[in-house]
């Protein structure tokens, strides 16, 4: 029934359309635009604004119906432009304008306001409303990021529906009723949602505005270019808006495959770091006095070429290691991979910071699925990081699957997660104890019986990853191995850093080559020819590189947009190597210890492609020129290669993309043209079937269990806002980090004689800190949770065992 074609006649023209649609959508799809305020294709209709009234012929004559709530049916006859319809629309507009302040000249929406536009198109002339208008206190801040002007609000319920239905944090609601109805938050509770910015984008008028954007620009001054967000790994479609060479905002763009138009606030407001005064603008070289001095590009490049060549000559190429590459484009990553392998000649290269998963699992898991598989899932197994914190738009997709589409959701996590309220089954556990939980779940024992039964109902989508930094990566691999064999299963192994998948696909892992080839795999003839030979041995991963640094075997380190000192759970001692060069946007904890720092271009300042967690390759675009003399990563590396006597011959990002399409098996044919024209939503690699030399099949391993006798084990996980560079350099989101604290089960707290706010000393072999206690009933007894990388917070490394003392 639902997929049958039905005939509808709109304004005298017959159309055949799929039967499961509301009239407003069917009309739009067949070329008739019906004006609307409250209807939104991604949310349930509410029929509130009444702007979309049209006439439909029926058994009892012609009826005026709202097209956003009326389903189409066969032989439906619709009129959208009759006098009655026009009169009704004019009437609604007049009603909406009656109480509207008409302060368009000072409104951020002015120039892109549907109310303004529709008044021009359908509206009445002058106001007949001579009574006193409704008055409310002018814009009130309802969160750190969002301002609300209730006088402008037309009560379309887009913001309230979004927070309730889509993001699951109904903190903004209608208050009062009738003519006094207004949007507001609870008296004492701000609109503290990770997704609040979406309501600003959804608001059809200027009632909700974003404080980072208020009064910054008028729409007609903006340069707008489509791109792909690189904050998390979902590859969300966005448009970047800039004026006078400055990025001013991002808007979400509806992509059926990924974000459905939504963005997290970190993504939306995270652009501020690009405009920071702290951005590096010239190369810096550490002088004899130990201080950085500005240097010219050629000085700095020559120096680095000389130093790296000397290390290779004196200690062999394996004395140089490279870290990073997961924050840039595929083209940059490829350049780094080629540079390390063909110019330096070292295989010690890793784009993950010892906090991720087996690169082969991420890049080439057999049975890997798509985000879109969530739309059809009957059962979802989520055993990974708290998606709300680390994978915000994926969180929205899972929420939709569980809430709107009725999938059963099974969550396994040591602590409460943002999706618990939608979980059919939720299992907590003690980090280190995961293997036992998995084996019991697999066997369907005891409390796991019903969940195991649900997992026998396909299609199953399993999202697997590390729930925290202290958990063994082998556990996720075991979960993936189990999930792969479930009925009709799609497995999505997830890690956090945005272009990790692209970086791995470009070979930025000790055991991978570009195009999803394991070192030694066949089928890399083009790569071999282009590179003039292929490595035969895997190099060090990040942890081994750290050890190499400590032991003195690694003498030179190249950091490409990486901050291992802050970002690696166990840190990295950058004072030991003879020479450290960093390519970065800022002086970070790591780059500030380098000998030479090159200023790099950031997001929106360069062109290229990125690959999301599904393997979807999408375009990022250049919108602004970037600060000072900053350059693309690939071009810095290419310049270095020439100065080191082994020129890589990389001419432009697009040329690199062509080289990738030629040499990297899984990326065969993936040119920019392909993803611009044939696959505007991005192309999932490999686009040419059977062109992935590696197909990784994980196994369930008992090594995923690391039981400890310690009284307390540490659960350490990332939060959306932390002490990372985006937050440090973005004034709007920088303030939002929750801060370091020790979260404890009430029983543990009682045993220790502490309560909320009391200080405890938490210590591991890697570090210690005095932290305020937060009681958290979601934790298992014996688990202490400390959010990772908080401003001023301690680092405990990846140790499971910690000690806790009351202070």
């Amino acid at each position: 029934m639902s997929d049958q074609l039905v005939k509808i006649t709109i304004n005298g023209v017959a159309h055949h359309v799929h039967g499961k649609s509301v009239l407003i959508k069917a009309a739009e799809d067949t070329g008739t635009y019906i004006p609307r305020f409250c209807w939104h294709p991604r949310m349930a209709p509410v029929g509130m604004c009444r702007m979309c009234l049209v006439e439909v012929e029926g058994p009892r004559g012609v009826m005026l119906v709202p097209s956003c709530t009326t389903p189409i049916h066969d032989e439906m006859v619709v009129h959208t432009e009759t006098d009655t319809v026009k009169k009704a629309q004019e009437g609604v507009l007049e009603f909406l304008l009656a109480n509207h302040p008409l302060d368009c000249p000072v409104c951020d929406r002015g120039g892109e306001c549907p109310l303004q536009d529709q008044t021009m198109a359908y509206g009445p002339g002058e106001s007949r409303f001579v009574e006193e208008k409704r008055h409310y206190e002018k814009p009130i801040p309802i969160s750190d990021l969002v301002m609300l002007d209730r006088e402008r609000c037309i009560l379309c319920a887009r913001c309230t529906r979004f927070s309730d239905e889509i993001s699951g944090d109904p903190l903004i609601e209608f208050m009062d009723r009738g003519n006094s109805t207004q949007v507001n938050t609870f008296t004492e509770e701000p609109f503290a949602s990770y997704f609040s910015g979406n309501t600003v984008q959804l608001c059809p008028v200027g009632a909700l505005t974003a404080s980072p954007y208020r009064f910054r620009a008028r729409p007609w001054d903006l340069r707008v270019i489509g791109s792909t967000c690189t904050v998390c790994t979902a590859g969300d479609s966005i448009s970047v808006h800039a004026s006078q060479n400055e990025v001013l905002r991002y808007l979400g763009v509806d992509n059926d495959a990924t974000n459905h138009g939504w963005l997290s606030d970190k993504c939306r407001f995270g652009f501020e770091y690009l405009n920071s005064d702290d951005r590096l603008t010239t190369p810096l070289v550490r002088g004899a006095d130990g201080e950085f001095a500005e240097a010219s590009w050629s000085e700095a490049l020559s120096l680095v070429a000389e130093k790296l060549t000397a290390i290779v000559t004196d200690h062999g190429p394996q004395a140089v290691a490279g870290l990073g590459g997961s924050r840039g484009t595929n083209e940059d990553a490829y350049a780094f991979s080629k540079f390390m392998r063909t110019v330096v000649g070292s295989g010690h290269i890793d784009s993950q910071m010892d906090d991720g998963l087996n690169p082969q699992l991420l890049a080439a898991l057999s049975g890997k699925g798509l985000i879109g598989d969530l739309e059809y899932a009957r059962t979802i197994l989520l055993w990974a990081a708290d998606l709300k914190e680390e994978h915000p738009t994926l969180y929205l997709r899972v929420r939709r699957a569980a809430q709107e589409l009725g999938a059963k959701l099974i969550i396994v996590h040591p602590r409460r997660t943002g999706l618990d309220d939608r979980a059919t089954f939720k299992f907590g556990y003690k980090p280190g104890d995961g293997a036992r939980v998995l084996s019991e779940l697999m066997a369907g024992q005891g409390e796991y019986a019903a969940a195991r039964a649900a997992l026998s109902e396909g299609p199953v989508v399993a999202i697997v990853g590390r729930t925290g930094l202290t958990e063994s990566p082998v556990l996720a691999e075991s979960v993936a191995a189990f999930a792969r064999d479930l009925p009709n299963a799609s497995v999505l192994p997830i890690v956090r850093r945005s272009n990790t998948y692209g970086a791995l696909d470009m070979g930025l892992a000790p055991n991978l080559l570009p195009g999803r080839a394991a070192i030694g795999s066949p089928g890399c003839a083009n790569l071999e020819a282009t590179w003039g030979g292929l490595p035969t041995k895997a190099g060090y991963d990040a942890a081994a590189i750290a050890t190499g640094v400590d032991e003195g075997s690694i003498k030179g380190v190249i950091l490409l947009g990486a901050d291992p000192v802050a970002d690696m759970p166990n840190g990295l001692d950058l004072s030991s190597p003879d020479f450290v060069v960093a390519i970065d946007l800022f002086l970070t904890e790591s780059s500030s210890q380098a000998d030479v720092v090159f200023p790099a271009l950031g997001f929106a300042e360069k062109e290229g492609t990125v690959t999301n967690l599904e393997g979807r390759v999408q375009k990022v675009n250049r919108v602004v020129p970037g600060p000072g003399q900053a350059r693309e990563d690939w071009s810095i590396l290419d310049d270095l290669s020439a100065r080191m006597g082994k020129p890589m011959g990389l001419a432009s990002a697009e040329a690199i993309a062509k080289e990738i399409a030629h040499v990297a098996p899984a990326y065969e044919s993936v040119t920019w043209d392909l993803i611009t024209w044939d696959h505007p939503d991005g192309a999932v690699v490999p686009v040419v079937a059977e062109r992935s030399p590696l197909e990784y099949v994980p196994i369930v391993s008992s090594a995923s269990s690391t039981p400890t006798k310690s009284e307390f084990v540490l659960h350490s996980a990332r939060t959306m806002y932390d002490d990372g560079v985006m937050c440090q350099q973005g004034p709007s989101i920088g303030r939002l980090a929750p801060g370091a604290a020790a979260y404890l089960n009430p029983d543990d707290a009682q045993r220790l004689g502490v309560t909320d706010g009391d200080l405890v000393r938490v210590a591991s072999t890697k570090g210690q800190g005095d932290l305020p206690v937060v009681i958290d009933v979601s934790l298992t007894v014996g688990v202490v949770y400390v959010p990772f990388n908080q401003p001023g917070g301690p680092h405990f490394g990846s140790d499971l065992a910690v000690t806790l003392v009351k202070l």
Partner: protein, 442 residues
């Protein structure tokens, strides 16, 4: 004149204790419920269909037919509408206060007929006394095993919960009521789903019936559908309760047969107009009904059909009578103000339009009317209820918005001269007018 009584019979004959279990059982109570628990859904639905009982909540839809539409999914729910808030209406209050067991018994019958095990009565918050009485009756019925697990010794379970509203007329609209009962704002739901019988409480099949409708059920079971249908010559069977208020000598509730004339109702039943005054107009069926005037309607029959033919309705059976001293602009304003204040606020035309209409009327009353105001009133009304026809064309989710148009239309149709007189006497007549702010919701 003595008319046959059905739902008010017991309370008339036993005023002191008609509300008690003892009296109720002594006068044949719970016999019908006991019997119907042994009957099938089909038997009960057919019986009620055959009785011709129409809903007494205002829409006058066949109760039996509604029951037969109940979707097969289970659980299903029964919700009885005791929100009675339409100005002029106070009949359900009397039924709840004076004969609460009649409602409990009616609910047992309706529940059994619809295979429902969970039922609710939603009583407006301003009715604590009726709620207390009904709650006592419910408690007594639980104690006797007429409610709860295995009622009347059968294996049929039935729970009944008395739920108190909190001051919102719109919760009388059945889908708003269901939202309210779900712990949400009492906002009417969009269509589809078209009927609660398909998707109602918690989106499960739900029967919503009015208190008076339910009160008739024990009598239909006991005395048969033919007897009930035979009480009336109209398509509307049985008796019906009228709440009469305003400028009459004997305001009150009256259980009446169908088909009297308005003259009989106003002058015989309600004792005529106070102080021997002249009848000016009356509202025939609750605040949303277009007004009747003596010149046109006094000798017309009081039936659903005749009212519809005359461009109005019997609605909830509330007649509000106005004598010649009444300022009709004031009366219209008061009716419009009610809808403005009770609008849930979802639909633009209702939320903005009803308030605007009220502001204009208040301005006219306050001596700041303008010549353009009559046309403006009509045009704003037209934007709420396109074409200003009867029954109204709806631009809104529920009929409340268009309801506010009725008093304005009636005012302009029958008493345009009074509006003009107000405007003419205004100091600013013909000018720009002075804005007044609307009475706030206190």
């Amino acid at each position: 004149m003595v008319y046959p009584l059905v739902v008010t019979k017991r309370m008339m004959e036993h005023p002191a204790d008609s509300h008690t279990m003892k009296r109720y059982e002594a006068t044949g109570g719970y016999v019908a419920a006991r019997q119907s628990v042994g009957q099938t859904r089909e038997e009960l639905v057919e019986l009620v269909k055959a009785s011709g009982l129409l809903g007494r909540g205002g829409a006058a839809f066949s109760a039996g037919l509604k029951w037969s539409f109940l979707a097969p999914a289970r659980p299903a729910y029964l919700v009885v509408n005791g929100d009675e808030s339409e100005p002029g209406t106070f009949k359900d209050r009397q039924l709840m206060e004076r004969d609460p067991h009649q409602i409990v018994e009616g609910m047992i019958i309706a529940a059994k007929a619809n295979e429902v095990h969970d039922s609710f009565v939603y009583i407006r918050g301003e009715y604590p006394k009726p709620a207390r009485r009904l709650q006592q009756a419910v408690a007594d019925a639980y104690a006797k095993g007429y409610l709860g697990k295995g009622i009347f010794g059968t294996d049929y379970d039935l729970e009944l919960t008395v739920h108190l509203g909190a001051g919102a007329y719109i919760c009388g609209e059945e889908t708003a009521l269901l939202n309210s009962l779900e712990g949400r704002r009492g906002e009417p739901r969009i269509k589809p789903p078209y009927f609660p019988a398909a998707k109602g409480l918690y989106m499960k099949p739900t029967i919503v019936n009015n208190i008076e409708t339910i009160s008739n059920l024990p009598h239909i079971i006991n005395q048969g559908s033919e007897w009930f249908a035979g009480l009336s010559d109209s398509a509307d069977t049985g008796t019906f309760m009228m709440s009469i208020s305003g400028h009459v000598n004997k305001p009150g509730n009256y259980e009446l047969p169908h088909g009297l004339t308005w003259r009989e109702v106003i002058y015989d039943v309600a004792g005529g107009i106070r102080n021997g005054n002249e009848l000016k107009a009356w509202v025939p069926g609750g605040a949303s009904a277009p007004w009747f005037v003596p010149e046109l309607h006094l000798d017309r029959p009081v039936t659903k059909e005749a009212c519809a033919a005359d461009g109005s309705m019997l609605g909830s059976g509330a007649i509000i009578v106005m004598d010649h001293t009444t300022d009709m602009v004031g009366a219209a304003e008061r009716l419009v103000a009610f809808f403005a204040e009770e609008s849930c606020g979802q639909c633009t035309p209702c939320r903005e339009g009803t308030t605007w209409l009220d502001m204009i009327l208040q301005r006219v009353l306050n001596g700041a009317g303008r010549d353009a105001d009559i046309d403006l009133l009509l045009d704003v009304a037209d934007n709420i209820s396109v074409g200003l026809g009867w029954p109204p064309k709806q631009t809104t989710i529920c009929p409340l918005g268009p309801s506010a148009v009725s008093p304005v239309m009636s005012l302009v149709r029958h008493f345009r001269d009074e509006v003009e007189a107000h405007i003419a006497s205004a100091p600013h007549s013909g000018g720009q007018g002075v804005a007044v702010s609307i009475r706030g919701i206190a």
